[in-house]
Amino acid sequence: MSARGEARLWVAQRATAMMLAVFVLAHLVTIIYAVRNGLAGADILARTRGSVGVAVFYGLFVLASAIHGSIGLRTIAIEWLRMRSNPAGIFALVAGVLLVVTGLRAVVAVVAA
């Protein structure tokens, strides 16, 4: 990959890190709220089903995680597994696609009516 491409990956990883900081905080607050108020699975699903807000929030959360995580895995593959740039990129792409597919599947499961 060109140096410019690698610089773009770096920017994407830093940008998604900033998004994740907000997402993770909101997610943790939601969990604490749910536990404190004794919300069982059914109660939570009743709130999330059909909610555009939840779909957008967790949809973006999944995309940001997939981008951030796969770029990080690319670096780990290069530095620790000694992979060259291209195979590491393919490895990261596969990991990213898996994260998107499984993550969005989970979002659909809690949002779809």
């Binding site: 990959m1 060109s2 140096a3 410019r4 690698e6 610089a7 773009r8 990956l9 920017v11 530095e79």
Partner: protein, 241 residues
Amino acid sequence: MDEVKTLRVSVWRGGAEGRFQQFDVPRRESQTVLDVVTHIQRHLDPTLAYRFACRVGMCGSCAMSVNGTPRWTCRTHVDKVAKGDALTIAPLANMPVVRDLVADMREFFDKWARAKGQFTPTRTRHDEFVAVDPKSAPRREADAGIECIGCGVCYAACDVVKWNRDYLGPAALNRAWTLVNDVRDGGQEARLAAVAGDAGCHSCHTMMSCTELCPKELSPTRSIAGLKRATFARAFEEGGE
């Protein structure tokens, strides 16, 4: 002065393949690690190869690995680094070994060149001098990194150098940053291209071993962060590398 009268010193002998050899060296007041190595070569084994020149922390020749940590040996007192009476001295890590305590620094300095660490003039001797305000922000940034003596301590301390053999390393990137802040320099485009990406500033994990161990108390980490900012806009320009 503590109670230890004799130092038990393990010194690397050989090239990439080799072994540690034990020497007993008399403990002296205000003794530096370079004093220890010199004592061994002058009095115990004249075949020991090591490198030094100025002995006063200016030339950057004498860096070695002392008890596993890269140090400038001429300014490193035994008091500060000996574990009891034991010292282990080896050539700098992350470089090939020439022999004994001498590391091959060619790759280290080649990377300065690859990071476009050469000044690119924009004027000739017939032009007027450029007036650079010592208080200007770029000049202060350059000042903060300019005192590097090229000892290689940061390069030997850096885990990214160990993991990624193409990584230019803290010293070369620090050098590039001082030139990025040189308003007289005309080579910025090529320099910013050279220091971006996995071989350059974007691979730095900000572990700060370079900054912790730099004998001149520079912060290559800060310089690398500056390069990340400087290359940010470039990442989204069209065309080129």
